[in-house]
Amino acid sequence: MSTESNLILSVRDLDVSVKNRKLISDLSFDIFAKTLTCVTGENGVGKTTLIKTILKQFNKNEHVQSKIKRSDMQYIPQLRNIDDDYPLTVFDFIGLGLQHSILPWLSKKEKQSVQKVIEMTKLQDLANTPLGSCSGGEQQRVYLAQALVSQPKLLILDESTASLDKEAKFMLLDVVKSVIAETGASVLFITHDPVLVQQYGDYDLNIANQAGTIKPVKEAQ
């Protein structure tokens, strides 16, 4: 079904532990291009720690191997400390993600790429609004847009839908799906929500009892 050339990330016999407490052992799975893989499991099984371990060991040893560069991967953390008087506009916040140049100002091309991700994430009406004034669902789309502006090949979303209402959840995942279709990026999505896994997921990496199993979502039905 998926060939070697589509392989974006390959995890082999990875042990995940926090402060010497082992959470997951001997985990192996593959992530292919243009797919959405959901990482599921109870609270505290180590989903976020798994992602942080992958980020830390990325291409540094045989456990986490990838053909893409670390800078081609973007992680969207679950919590960000954005107060309601956070001053920067949505446009400027997204622009923070542009780190490939050292010019202090954004070039015309970079401004266009910010504009493009604003359209992709349906934030046109909010471009000049301070981020602190945006709703939770809007902020999640802004974080997604900031990650997208550097044109990543692998995106990791950590519980991005956790605090959102139903409508905002579906809207965010619709955007993620269209991003996958448009840019060919692959997505790792940590979630609790079985409905979202069924509706949007291609693969389900379920973590339980210190072990992880990955299977296609559609066949599991």
Binding site: Y75, P77, P87, Q146
Partner: protein, 267 residues
């Protein structure tokens, strides 16, 4: 008005205020975004302590200031800013360094007026060489912030995101804190370590309520500091009251207006 400008000490004060305002615009916006206002406060107390150490050794106080502030910036930058933001560690640091400063001053056996000079500064008592140092520092800070601007703004305005998706974060933080240490040390001689804390935090905190991009916040912060210092100098000249009082009051009024503006426009 013209009479005021005919005195060389007033000319120096106005020129120095202009460059201090540039520094406040550049550094203040990041100080506020990084929520390191209280570390800046501690830094001004550390600079007091460093200055008295310099006096104790019999060298130039600025050397003691730079030594103390740069070393503590290095420590905070590498050990972690999270520790520095804890209320308890701020109190511990402040008290310890003020105590140390008093100890050095008493050991050095100098008159206590020197202590008030470092704490409160005297902008109308500065020399041509003070102005030169200030201009040099301003140029150095403009050049270095320009070089690390992208990383600095990501690291400052989206600390969590940058910690995962940007490299050299610790290095950028350390560079920024060293620049801040130099700013505090050099300007503390002129406006005093207490007032530099006010100028590095209040104008930038006010500006973020009016404008919403980093450039416009920088420029507005510069304008607010310039209004405060220039008006303060003028009022001080005609009333013969302390200039620090006027600067602090003007900046506070600007901040109150900013908060009210924010409340009104949010409705």
């Amino acid at each position: 008005m013209l009479e005021m400008l005919s005195y060389p000490f007033m000319q120096y004060a106005f020129v120095a205020s202009f460059f201090i305002s540039i520094l406040c615009g550049l550094m203040g916006v990041f100080v506020v975004a990084r929520k390191t206002a209280f570390f800046t406060h501690t830094l001004s107390e550390i600079s007091f302590s460093g200055a008295s150490f310099g006096v104790f050794l019999g060298t130039n106080p600025i050397l003691g200031m730079l030594l103390f502030t740069v070393l503590s910036s290095l420590m905070i930058g590498t050990v972690g800013s999270r520790v520095s933001r804890r209320e308890s560690s701020i109190s511990v640091f402040s008290v310890f360094f003020i105590g140390l400063g008093i100890l050095f001053l008493s050991l050095a056996d100098t008159q206590s007026s020197y202590a008030t000079n470092i704490l409160f500064g005297s902008i109308v008592g500065i020399s041509y060489s003070n102005v030169q140092t200030l201009v040099g520092l301003s140029i150095a800070i403009i050049v270095i912030t320009t070089l690390i601007y992208r990383k600095l703004k990501y690291n400052s305005f989206d600390n969590v995101g940058a910690s995962f998706n940007s490299r050299a974060n610790t290095l950028v933080s350390v560079i920024f804190l060293i620049l801040l240490a130099c700013t505090v040390s050099v300007t503390a001689q002129i406006v005093g370590s207490l007032l530099i804390f006010a100028l590095l935090t209040i104008p930038a905190s006010s500006a973020r309520y009016f404008v919403h991009s980093i450039w416009s916040m920088t420029i507005l912060t510069f304008v607010f500091s310039l209004i405060g210092t220039w008006f303060g100098l003028y009022l001080s000249f005609i009333t013969n009251l302390p200039v620090s009082f006027f600067i602090a009051t003007i900046e506070t009024i600007i901040y109150i207006i900013a908060v009210i503006y924010d409340k009104v426009t949010r409705i």
